[in-house]
């Protein structure tokens, strides 16, 4: 069992194909999942029990069961029902990629929904009251004051969640999708080499993790300009 650098370099080209698939999966699920997280969080903090309880149950289910089982329920499971097979959605639900994005998004919605719920609770009451005092409706207060602040508040957690999403996305090869991990598994079975494809794939994932962490810290710095002390140059520029 030795590691062959030449083989690793040749394999890298094929892993790059998988890289695009992984990036697509993560970006699509991040956008879709975090959009879905908003209604989940709003329902979770609602005063109406028929919104609050289902949202709590949804979050409990998503966080209390493995993602791979959730994905199998969608990809292999839904076809069990004739109603689903005969519906107009079947061509979509039969597609592995659609199912992968769906599973990852629904999963993200559960985790991010819970994060957002905490952050909504942490927005100072005075800010919301200020909005009401200005004659804003409750919906306006929610969408113009509470949610933007809650989003910024939970940005560090979202960075973590995104890394977890990237790592979680590697299981989609079990439903035939050729992401980085999928390509590595195929190469392994074709070449009977284990270390080269897997270690090269690991390197790509590490790179993506690094990019996500850097990207979020950049975003965080930009969105918290108000908390940073101005540099001398900026102060001078402001005086002019």
């Amino acid at each position: 069992m030795t590691f062959d650098l030449d083989v690793a370099i040749r394999i890298f080209g094929r892993l790059i194909d998988g890289l695009w698939m992984t990036i697509f999966l993560v970006v699509a699920s991040m956008i879709l999942g975090n959009l879905l997280a908003i209604p989940v969080a709003l329902a979770r903090v609602s005063e109406r029990w028929w919104l609050r309880y289902p949202a709590a149950a949804y979050i409990l289910f998503i966080r209390g069961t493995p993602l791979i089982v959730q994905m199998f329920m969608i990809y292999y499971g839904l076809g069990q029902f004739p109603v689903v097979r005969q519906s107009f959605l079947w061509p979509l639900l039969r597609d592995a990629l659609v199912c992968a994005v769906l599973a990852l998004s629904l999963n993200t919605a559960g985790y991010s929904g819970e994060v957002l719920r905490g952050a909504i609770g942490a927005v100072p009451k005075g800010l919301k009251e200020a909005g009401t005092a200005l004659g804003m409706t409750r919906a306006r207060v929610m969408f113009l004051i509470t949610l933007p602040l809650a989003f910024r508040q939970s940005l560090p957690t979202f960075a973590n969640e995104s890394v977890l999403l990237l790592k979680a996305s590697a299981i989609v090869f079990t439903i035939t999708i050729q992401d980085i991990m999928g390509e590595a598994v195929i190469i392994r079975s074709q070449t009977y080499r284990t270390l080269e494809p897997l270690l090269s794939a690991a390197l790509l994932y590490l790179l993506l993790t690094f990019l996500i962490v850097q990207g979020f810290s950049l975003l965080e710095r930009r969105l918290s300009v108000h908390r940073r002390k101005a540099t001398v140059t900026e102060l001078l520029a402001g005086m002019r």
Partner: protein
């Protein structure tokens, strides 16, 4: 509907007992991996805090690589790469001897290795959170360094670590489902077989999910109680 429910019951041709067997395998593997992870975590935290420079570098590499690479990839690397590595090694020492590495220890090793990286960070944080005055007081009582650590720092650090360790258990439990991919007959593995042979995938995957949910819910309650018990005598914060 009744027929479907009968499949997950315990009668003739039903999968109830098989699923319970699978659930036990899952719990065993998850629990063993969790213990391995905690042991690795204590070592890792010690190494990262007060080890020599090369130990610190190894510790830093361990935690950042494992936490930046998908769990399933680490499992594949250890499960396939590790086993063939060990085989190659024994082949060098004792040519002709073919070692078969059992699936269970390989799976526990892989999952424990992953859990260890997270546990390292948990323990490191909780050990560093202990007031240095506590350590100094121990030194003033002329305790030896390892006594200070074992008798003063560690008990307090463990209490701080309990909530995060509870979370880690839930993560390890859910990650353990991934080992069915390398062919182990755990809860999900059994569920897959049942799904294929009965052609009722949704029924069985949902059952598997619900069993996981029950185990996680019971664990959450248990950890909550443990936290409350360990929090006795602490001012509520």
């Amino acid at each position: 509907m009744a027929e479907t429910l009968a499949l997950i019951g315990f009668g003739e041709g039903a999968w109830g007992w098989a699923l319970i067997g699978g659930a036990l395998v899952t719990i065993q593997i998850a629990f063993a991996s969790y213990l391995v992870g905690i042991a690795l975590g204590l070592f890792g935290a010690w190494g990262k805090i007060s080890g020599p420079r090369w130990v610190r570098a190894v510790g830093a590499g361990y935690t950042s690589v494992v936490r930046g690479v998908p769990e399933i990839l680490v499992i594949f690397l250890i499960y396939y790469g590790g086993t063939s590595g060990i085989r190659a090694l024994t082949g060098l020492v004792m040519p002709g001897v073919n070692v078969e590495i059992a699936a269970f220890p390989a799976a526990v090793g892989a999952l424990g290795f992953i859990a260890g990286a997270y546990a390292t960070e948990i323990f490191r944080g909780s050990i560093l959170a202990i007031d240095p005055g506590q350590r100094e007081a121990g030194k003033a009582l002329s305790l030896r360094p390892h006594q200070v650590f074992l008798l003063i720092v560690l008990p307090q650090a463990l209490r701080l670590a309990v909530p995060a360790l509870g979370n880690l258990w839930l993560v390890v439990l859910k990650d353990s489902a991934l080992i069915s991919v390398v062919g182990i007959r755990d809860l999900l593995g059994i569920g897959q077989t049942a799904a294929q042979s009965t052609r009722q995938p949704f029924t069985f995957y949902t059952t598997v999910a619900l069993v996981f949910l029950v185990i996680s819910t019971i664990s959450m309650v248990a950890f909550h109680l443990a936290e409350r018990r360990l929090g006795r005598g602490q001012a509520s914060r």
